[in-house]
């Protein structure tokens, strides 16, 4: 009887001695699973080789090793646990069909699973690295946007604060307009014209005063806008004494309005003067006078 050349007969004694390289050994194992002839030949060689195993000095394994083995078995993933099946008879399975139930299915599956997991972990590593780079880029961009937003926020806050100031100014201006209108509409309100002095140019002012002299509105027109942080100072004067009663600002078109609430009746004073307000100006002193009016009580007219 002749055998196909793929029968690894010349490798069987080396297989029995463990003298094959791993690749050769796997090939022979696979062949043995399906070839009773080679299995039978090998049985003769292994009968001898297994005796060699018994030639070594005998020793007992440590007492705890059995428990460790069983723990290791219990810790195997479910794919490594053979499927329970109906008990076979003690004559067991020499037929090859039943031998393929577990090892020929689960082991390749497990190997594929392991390879798959390794590949997946490598891919995940690459993907994760790429993702990390991308996240770092996003983080930088986000930080940049946040800084922009913070600047915008600060700017918006400043804008809101400015709006509040402007709103307050608008309210004040509107209130002054209402007061002015009201005063002008009153039958006994006295308008006094402030006229320019030397250096006053063509500017002028109107002072509206209530009958009792306790309330007044000063309006300026055609004023030269003062330099920044400067305003015009309003004075009341009598008997050579000057009393500052307030500061009045003008807008870029030369208009300005303010309400006056003097401590006593305006009619107790002789003059109202308007000077440029300078920080170092002495009270009522020699700063440049712009406008002036003589205060005349209604009774004197």
């Amino acid at each position: 009887m002749s055998y196909p050349p793929e029968h690894p007969e010349d490798l069987l004694e080396a297989f029995a001695l463990g003298a094959l390289e791993e690749g050769e050994r796997d090939g022979v194992e696979a062949h043995l699973d399906a070839c009773p002839h080679c299995s039978s030949l090998l049985a003769d060689f292994e009968e001898a080789s297994v005796l060699l195993a018994g030639a070594v000095p005998q020793a007992m394994p440590p007492a705890g090793l059995q428990a460790r083995v069983m723990e290791a078995v219990a810790a195997l993933p479910p794919v490594f646990v053979p499927q329970a099946r109906e008990e076979t008879s003690s004559s067991a399975r020499s037929d090859s069909a039943s031998r393929f139930t577990f090892s020929s299915f689960a082991m390749p599956l497990a190997a594929a699973l392991v390879i798959g997991l390794l590949t997946a972990s490598l891919l995940m590593n690459v993907v994760t690295t790429s993702r990390l780079n991308s996240l770092e880029q996003e983080r930088l961009e986000t930080n940049s946007r946040l800084e922009g937003l913070e600047r915008g926020h600060a700017s918006a806050n400043a804008g809101i604060a400015q709006l509040a100031v402007e709103n307050h100014e608008t309210d004040s201006a509107l209130k002054q307009v209402m007061e002015t209108s009201y005063l002008m509409a009153r039958p006994f309100t006295q308008p006094l014209l402030l006229q320019p002095t030397e250096g006053g140019g063509d500017s002028e002012g109107v002072l509206l005063v209530t009958n009792d002299g306790k309330k007044a509105i000063l309006m300026l027109a055609n004023m030269d806008p003062p330099q920044s942080s400067q305003a015009y100072q309003v004075w009341l004067a009598r008997n050579g004494q000057h009393l500052p009663v307030g500061r009045i600002s003008v807008d870029s078109s030369g208009w300005g309005t303010m309400a006056l609430n003097p401590p006593e009746s305006l009619y107790g004073y002789d003059w109202m003067n308007l000077t440029v307000d300078k920080p170092d100006t002495e009270v009522g002193g020699g700063s440049e006078m712009i406008l002036q009016t003589r205060i005349i009580s209604p009774a004197d007219r």
């Binding site: 010349d10 004694e13 080396a14 029995a16 001695l17 463990g18 003298a19 094959l20 390289e21 791993e22 050994r25 043995l32 009773p36 299995s39 039978s40 090998l42 049985a43 003769d44 060689f45 292994e46 001898a48 080789s49 297994v50 005796l51 060699l52 195993a53 018994g54 030639a55 070594v56 000095p57 005998q58 020793a59 007992m60 394994p61 090793l65 059995q66 460790r68 083995v69 069983m70 290791a72 078995v73 195997l76 490594f80 646990v81 053979p82 499927q83 329970a84 008990e87 076979t88 003690s90 067991a92 399975r93 020499s94 090859s96 031998r99 139930t101 577990f102 090892s103 020929s104 082991m107």
Partner: protein, 191 residues
Amino acid sequence: MTDYQILEDQELLVRIAAGEKDALEAIYERYSSAVYSLARYMLRSEAVAEEATQDVFLNIWLKASSFNSSRGQPKTWIMSVAHHKIIDIIRSRRRAEAISDPKEYETLDLLPSDQVSTDEAVVRNLEAERVRRALERLPAAQQEVVTLAYFGGLSQSEIAAKLGQPLGTVKTRARLALQKLREELRQDDDE
């Protein structure tokens, strides 16, 4: 309740293949000493031998369904699984340590027998002595090939290179040695 201690090896392997852990425990109790002794001798380290023994019984658990009774006795299969595992460890360790000259495996007398505390161990040591005598009766060239291969973990081509002999010569010596060993031991049994 199954009494696994009274079951034949072959039945135990069938039950292991079916996932019965008690069957593996029974196989362990029967073969752990033989496996551990071989591992301890070949690996020259009790710690590594313990790890190897654990791996062998894990392999038995995983591969039990591939046991084929036409290939021989369960004991032969179990010791073959063990021997292949131990050789894998030796080779990977050799690759790691670049050791290629396992002189210490050229005789069998390096490691004294100990822990002969049980009757079973005494019997096995007697058998070991019998195998050693059979091995010593082999021609020196065959004894050398068998020792380098089986206990040293060298492949046929490594042995050929080491001995300066053609690969075919090594194969022939291995085959003749195994045939002669089997005959010697059968004769011993007949005596």
